[in-house]
């Protein structure tokens, strides 16, 4: 597997709105300490925030994983369901199945996955209904 030099995992709970963004903030802080360029850091932070919020809003729980290799940062979002039936539909700007509760808090624009894709240098999503969704995003740092 990857020749990472750092690998951290951050668990994310379903519907944890009050602590939403905490995992991303920790990842951002860590990468800042590691001296990652601020423009790249900003892209990573947006992507990880969107991934974290999707875990909270749409998944049955999962984790964010941050791997650092000499040349890149890899962000992985992994959950245990419910999975996405139609990925190309989910990737469309404006498509959202967010609950009323989530929409009241300002989520549900259907912009999260497009934001991740736009900010990452590489973006890969796989999903199986009833099993879970995995998103892998790569960011070049050298």
């Amino acid at each position: 597997m990857a020749d990472y030099i750092i690998r951290d995992s951050y668990p994310v709970q379903t519907a944890a709105y009050e602590s939403a963004g905490d995992a991303s903030a920790r990842i951002k802080r860590k990468l800042k300490q590691l001296g990652i360029d601020s423009a790249i850091l900003r892209r990573i932070a947006v992507a990880s925030y969107e991934a974290e919020l999707n875990l909270i809003i749409h998944s049955h729980g999962g984790e964010l994983i941050m791997e650092m290799t000499p040349k890149s940062i890899v962000l992985i979002s992994k959950d245990v369901g419910p999975g996405i039936a139609d990925i190309s539909q989910a990737l469309k700007e404006g498509y959202s199945t967010a609950s009323e509760e989530a929409r009241d808090l300002g989520f549900g624009a259907g912009m999260g996955l497009p934001n991740m894709k736009r900010n990452a240098d590489s973006f890969d999503i796989t999903s199986e209904v009833g099993v879970g969704t995995t998103i892998q995003m790569g960011f070049q740092i050298a």
Binding site: E18, V46, Y49, F107
Partner: protein, 115 residues
Amino acid sequence: MKVVDLMHLLEAENLTKEVSLEGEVTCGYSCDLLSWVLAHGKQGMGWATVQSHVNVIAVSVLMEMACVILVEGVEPEDATLAKALEEGMPILSTEKTAYEVCGIMCKAGVAVPGR
């Protein structure tokens, strides 16, 4: 202009007394959809919203904004205020609508992001 100047211009109240208002407001925006703001937010932004939840601070800090402007007298939740103080993000509160706030910012020459 500085956040403190914007505060006077909007006749807004500063809800985060311990936070510096010396930051430069370089552009203005209004939107209540957080992912939309994450797509269009910019550093130095003065962001007018009716959202009062703690995630407003997460988003504004991520975007390195100058301040959050809560419109129409919307009150922040306790967690939002606490997070704003912790992160040093100014929150201004005004009875004005987002429409009025943007009108005032535009008239004062605050830039439209990306232009």
